[in-house]
């Protein structure tokens, strides 16, 4: 188990290094930052001096080295617009995004898994077809439009919920969260439901398929032969097996939730790092874009690591290795 953790940690560090190189090269390829920093009237000599003072006369691999060293110290440059360290801007908005993505994942899980289980247990019924059609619709609806329709219905039409923004936050272990109060939940409900829709469809399909598959397995037949109750067969024997793919996929999809939060945050004016990214792209605030990308990549790598470990925890065949 410890060897597994160490191996995964090493792999994660490697991926992070490669991605930082890619991001660096992409930014390096976009253009010469000197043009932005130096007065257009400056002569050749001045340009060379500024270039040297910023270390931009060094070959690209040396510059990458400086970049890595600075990144290691947590320095990804200053925002052109806000005049603050880019990394701080992104990190400040991260709790809002993680709060939104976590809420969406929970909604998708609690609405998708039981329904998928229910449909998977009656594979050829009308209700199973209905669930299949519903998940197909969920796949097809574009997130941003669903968000707008929900705003129209629940905020503008019925006036039950706010049209956007985040509720008041309170620090929880130093992290500002909005889910401590009713107002926070009222703000969170619509954006989280919007973001959850696609993953709900996915989990619905996955659970229904995995349940159908599990019910055909010999261990279910043997469990029936031992006179176990249907509740125990489904709730323990089947659920423990299908939980493995469900947890794996939910974990991996959490990254995609963070990415798609860009859209949801824009629709609902949710002050997360996705909205920051869109705003920064609009005003060409490059250091913030780079900081967002690197932090997101690091987040993805961390998520993958956690999923791998969870997987090992859930599946004894992975945890103990196969002896047979």
């Amino acid at each position: 188990m410890i060897a597994l953790v160490l191996r995964r940690l090493l792999q994660s560090a490697l991926v992070l290094l490669v991605m930082s190189l890619l991001v660096f090269v992409a930014v390096y390829a976009i253009g010469d930052p000197i043009a932005l920093l130096v007065d257009p009237q400056a002569d050749q000599h001045d340009v060379a001096r500024v270039r040297a003072s910023l270390g931009l006369d060094a070959p690209w691999w040396a510059q990458y080295g400086y970049f890595l060293v600075a990144a290691g110290r947590g320095d990804l440059g200053q925002s052109f617009i806000h005049g603050e360290p880019a990394i701080r801007l992104v990190l400040e908005r991260m709790p809002a995004t993680l709060e939104l993505a976590s809420a969406a994942l929970l909604i998708a899980l609690f609405a998708g898994v039981p329904l998928g289980l229910w449909a998977g247990l009656r594979p050829n019924s009308i209700s199973a077809r209905l669930v299949n059609g519903l998940s197909l619709l969920g796949f097809s609806l574009p997130t941003f439009w669903v968000g707008m329709m929900l705003i129209m219905l629940f905020a503008v039409g019925l006036g039950w919920l706010p049209t956007g923004g985040r509720g008041p936050t309170e620090p929880v272990f130093g992290v500002p969260l909005s889910i401590t109060g009713i107002a926070g939940w009222r703000h969170l409900l619509l954006p989280a439901a919007t973001l959850a829709l696609f993953k709900w469809s996915l989990l619905l399909r996955l659970t229904a398929g995995a349940t159908r598959e599990a019910m055909r397995q010999d261990y279910v037949r043997f469990a029936r032969a031992r006179g176990l109750s249907p509740a125990r067969i489904v709730g323990v024997h089947v659920l423990k097996n299908i939980l493995i793919p469900i947890v794996t996929v939910s974990g991996l999809e959490f990254g995609s939730l963070i990415a798609f939060a860009v859209v949801t945050e824009t629709v609902f004016a949710w002050p997360g790092m996705g909205k920051l990214l869109i705003d920064s792209i609009a005003v060409l605030d490059r250091p913030v874009v780079v900081a967002y990308l690197l932090i997101t990549v690091a987040l993805f790598v961390a998520i993958n690591l956690v999923v791998d470990l969870l997987y090992a925890l859930l599946d004894p065949r992975v945890r103990f290795g196969s002896t047979a």
Partner: protein
Amino acid sequence: MSRSGYAALIALTLLVGAALFAPWLAPQNPYDLAALDVFDARLPPGSPAYAGQMHYWLGTDAQGRDMLSAMLYGLRISLVVGFASTVLALLIGIVFGLIAAWRGGWVDALVMRIVDVQLSFPAILLALVLLAVTGPGLAKIVLALVAAQWAYYARATRGVALVERNKDYIAAARLLRLPSWRVLAHHLLPNCLPTLLVVAALQLAAAISLEATLSFLGIGLPVTEPSLGLLIANGFQYLLSGRYWISVFPGVLLVLLLVSCNVLADALRRLADPREAAR
């Protein structure tokens, strides 16, 4: 094919037809600024025009543009982007997938590692970054979509090609010393097509949806080429004041398009894999 599959095929054909013949079907040329009348701005559905005999059956937008016409032209742009990026990504994916399966060894390992890494990152993030670098534009968004989607086709092609490669008829073709490209194009590729068709139908929907999303975010298409996504975005601010039609109608059309694609893909998948259909 299932009945819902045929229904989706018919709906898709009608939508493509409507987009193709938009100049003849639309009551108004939405890009002809001379045809627009500011007095007609933000009219609800069914309103008569301030001047002339025309009725705006689906209302007008902030510039007094007939929504029905704008939607037909928007559908055109959405479909052009969707089909162009799908065809290009398909071609690139086929080439890389076939090369990986045919050559094997380190070539295969390299291509598939790139594919794996790329697919572990959400397509929207990749497209977002590329567009942030290149700026908005029709060709640029097609490029971004191709970059975000080629890997799906490469993986699907390689998967089928690997299975086919080990079959006797390929060995026979190789023994006859047919040139590699001939074996690939005439023998291997046709067997990959059913799978690729399913992936393409799914990815067409994904591409159209992604384009609409990026345009909604304001980094996809420029305002001069309003796709359905951009039309929806334009109506967003009026939604809060109850002028629903500017966003809702283009959205319904977009959803219709996406549902048709996905239902068709589902039907094709069942057709290509009867074992799946029996479930």
